[in-house]
Symmetry: C2
Subunit: 131 residues, 2 copies
DNA sequence: GTAATTGCAAATAATTTGCTGGGTG
DNA sequence: CACCCAGCAAATTATTTGCAATTAC
């Protein structure tokens, strides 16, 4: 389950760069298709292995809100996600963290380590186009 | 993808009752093992089909926060979940919904339909036992 | 009676893993 | 040049689905 990794391979570097350069929150397969343009014979297993490693290193986040497929987020900072129910895109947003914690801490049935919030609705683009 | 159902079968009723009578947030397989005690030849496929139907009817919620396996919650009301990182249990909790929405609405990049929050930490039981 | 729903088993889909050769440090 | 990590393909896991038989209404 836990993977240790010490070397920087070109595959790992490319996966990191790919995640860092996109604002979408891609699936493993999207990343695979993307990095394949540069390293044609990279394997999907390698993509999964490196995503796992990067997650353990705290460099990326794995998102799996209510989907059968995980998405990956190149931004490891605590932030929140807005999922568009029309186009399926996942957008980042921030909100007042202190206020959020002051809501959560008194209510939580235990000591709090971290938290995740996702909001579902219709994004600005879809609102303009379809509604 | 979408399933319509009109009849109340003993299988469906038992699955509803099982979910209503537990405070844990069981997996499909846990539910299957549980209902099998009463209907020995029920199939896992039927459990999945009925969970899907109950979800569409708004009678239960599916939870799949960061896990490879979905859990089901017999309480369809908006509420929040606390996941214990020690024992893995999932506890319900509530918090001031108006305050939560007043945090989210100004920050969200679109029109908000619903939201989900899970908090990770150590539950009271584990705090007493292990920490 | 008849159409919805079940049980069964095979199909899917995403992800993980064992093995061996290749490339990094 | 040692051993970590990639590629490949097969394995695993959760879930879904097609079909004939059963059952609720």
């Amino acid at each position: 389950m836990e993977i240790k990794q010490k070397r920087m391979t070109k595959q790992k570097k490319l996966i990191m760069d790919t995640l860092a350069s996109t604002t979408c929150h891609p699936t493993a397969d999207w990343i695979y298709q993307s990095v394949r343009k540069n390293i044609a014979d990279i394997s999907l297993g390698t993509v999964y292995r490196n995503l796992q490693v990067l997650k353990e290193e705290g460099k990326i986040q794995e998102l799996n809100y209510g989907k059968n497929q995980s998405r990956y987020d190149g931004n490891p900072q605590l932030h929140y996600h807005f999922v568009c129910e029309s186009c399926g895109c996942v957008l980042d947003f921030n909100l007042d963290n202190k206020a959020m914690l002051s809501l959560i801490l008194p209510a939580a049935p235990g000591s709090v380590h971290t938290h995740r919030l996702e909001v579902y609705g219709i994004c600005q683009d879809c609102l303009k186009k379809h509604f």
